[in-house]
C-alpha cells in the first residue's frame, strides 16, 4: 500500500537539480550534464579556493574573493575583495584586502579597507590597520590595532582636564576612599 512505484522515482543524480514542485503545470526542463556543470561553475566563479595541500611562495594578486586553506608565504593583495583564511590556512605574508576573515593562522601585517574579523581559534601575529576589527572570544592576537578613526579626534578643551600632582601632593594610597 505504501510502496512507491520504482518507475516514477527520478533517476539518481538528477534529484538535486529538480526544481520545486509546481502546482499542476508541467515542470521546467531540468538542467543536467554539461548544462548543470556550467551552472555550478557560474555559481562558484567569484570565490577561488586554495586547497589544503597547496603551498604558495611569492606574491598573490587577484580581483575576486579568495579562500586560503593552504600555505602562503609572501604577499597577498586583493584590494577590492574578501580574503578568507580557512581553519587550515597558514599565512606568513603581508595582506592587503577589502575584508579579511581569519579562521586559521596569519603571521604578518594586515591592511583592510573595510574589516578584519578574527574568528574563534583564529590567530594573528602582526599589526592590523582597518576601520573595523572584530576579535572573537578564543581568538589569539598579538600586535597592534589601528582603526584609523575617520572623525575628528576629541578636542583637548572638551575633555575633562587631567591633573598631575607632584610627588608631595599625590593621593595617599593608604587612605583611599572605599568604593
Amino acid at each position: 500500500m505504501w510502496k512507491r512505484d520504482e518507475n516514477v522515482r527520478p533517476p539518481a543524480g538528477r534529484e538535486a537539480a529538480q526544481p520545486a514542485p509546481s502546482t499542476g503545470t508541467p515542470s521546467a526542463p531540468v538542467a543536467h550534464g554539461p548544462e548543470l556543470e556550467g551552472k555550478r561553475h557560474m555559481d562558484s566563479k567569484d570565490v577561488v579556493n586554495i586547497g589544503k595541500s597547496v603551498v604558495i611562495k611569492g606574491e598573490l594578486n587577484g580581483s575576486e574573493d579568495l579562500t586560503v586553506e593552504g600555505h602562503v608565504d609572501g604577499k597577498i593583495e586583493l584590494k577590492e575583495h574578501v580574503l578568507t583564511i580557512g581553519p587550515h590556512g597558514r599565512i606568513k605574508a603581508e595582506v592587503f584586502a577589502k575584508s579579511v576573515i581569519v579562521l586559521g593562522e596569519v603571521s604578518g601585517n594586515i591592511l583592510a579597507s573595510e574589516k578584519v574579523d578574527i574568528r574563534d581559534n583564529g590567530s594573528v601575529d602582526g599589526n592590523i590597520i582597518s576601520p573595523r576589527v572584530a576579535i572573537a572570544e578564543g581568538a589569539h592576537f598579538r600586535g597592534s590595532v589601528d582603526m584609523q578613526r575617520k572623525s575628528e579626534p576629541t578636542k583637548a578643551s572638551d575633555a575633562p582636564k587631567a591633573e598631575v600632582k607632584p610627588a608631595g601632593q599625590s593621593a595617599p594610597v593608604g587612605t583611599a576612599p572605599k568604593v
Binding site: M147, A159, P160, A162, S170, V173, A176, P177
Partner: protein
C-alpha cells in the same frame, strides 16, 4: 549495530536520570560566573586618553574584542596587545619561571615614551619580584609624559589559581570573566611596594573596592620624563 544504538538512545531518553547516575563525573572544572564590578579609576584613565589627539594604548592582558572596539573605535586609540598573562602561563607550564625576568627584558617592542596609556589590569599580582621590576621599568620608560597607567592590586591572599579577563562594560563598570590557570597570585604588594615599584610615576587616584582590590591610576609627570 545502528539498531542497537537507536534502542539504547530510546531507552536512555525514557530513563535519563538513571543514565546520568551511571556516567562518571566529568573532571572538576568549576564554571566561574562573570561578574560586573564598578570601577572608579577607569573613567579617569579614559579621560586622560581623550586628551590626546591620537592616543596609543598598551594592553597587557589577553585580547578582548569588545575592548578593542571600545578603545579603538570609540576613543580612536592605536592599541598594542601584549598578553603577558599568556607568557606567565607558558613559563609556568614549562617549569621555566626562573627565566621569566630575562624573557621579559626583551619582550616589549615599544620604544621609550611611545604610549599614552597602559592597561596593566591585575598583572602585578601574578609576577614574582624580579619579573615585576623588569615590567615596571619598561612601562615607566614606555609611557609618554602625562601618560597614565591603570592597574589592580589585590589586598588579600586568594587561594584560587585563576586569571581574569577584564571587559569594559562602560567607563564605570568592568565585567570580570575568570578563567583557570596553573599560576597562583604571588605575595600581596603593600602600598609602599607598589609606590616603590613605580617610583618614576605618581599615584593620581587610588580606590579600595569592596572586592578587596585596590585600583590605582598612575601618571607620569612631565618633570619625570625619561632622561
Amino acid at each position: 549495530m545502528s539498531g542497537v544504538g537507536k534502542v539504547t538512545g530510546f531507552l536512555s531518553r525514557l530513563a535519563p536520570r538513571r543514565a546520568a547516575e551511571e556516567e562518571p563525573e566529568p573532571p572538576a572544572v568549576r564554571a566561574e560566573p562573570e561578574v560586573v564590578v564598578p570601577t572608579k579609576a577607569l573613567k579617569k584613565f579614559v579621560a586622560s586618553l581623550r586628551l590626546q589627539p591620537l592616543p596609543t594604548l598598551l594592553d597587557l592582558g589577553p585580547v578582548v574584542g569588545s575592548n578593542v572596539a571600545y578603545f579603538g573605535e570609540q576613543l580612536g586609540c592605536k592599541i598594542f596587545i601584549e598578553d603577558i598573562f599568556a607568557d606567565i602561563e607558558r613559563f609556568q607550564r614549562e617549569h621555566r619561571l626562573a627565566g621569566l625576568p630575562a624573557f621579559l627584558e626583551t619582550r616589549f617592542p615599544q620604544g621609550p615614551e611611545s604610549v599614552d596609556g597602559v592597561l596593566c589590569w591585575d598583572l602585578f599580582d601574578f609576577l614574582d619580584k624580579p619579573s615585576a621590576r623588569v615590567v615596571a621599568d619598561h612601562l615607566m620608560r614606555a609611557l609618554k609624559p602625562n601618560g597614565a597607567l591603570f592597574g589592580f592590586f589585590t589586598t588579600t591572599h586568594p587561594t584560587e589559581a585563576r586569571f581574569t579577563k577584564f571587559i569594559v562594560a562602560d567607563d564605570g563598570n568592568l565585567r570580570h570573566r575568570p578563567y583557570s590557570t596553573p599560576r597562583m597570585r604571588q605575595a600581596v604588594l603593600q602600598n609602599r611596594d607598589i609606590i616603590k615599584l613605580f617610583e618614576r610615576l605618581r599615584v593620581s587616584d587610588s580606590f579600595l573596592l569592596h572586592t578587596k582590590v585596590r585600583e590605582i591610576l598612575f601618571r607620569k609627570p612631565d618633570y619625570l620624563s625619561n632622561p
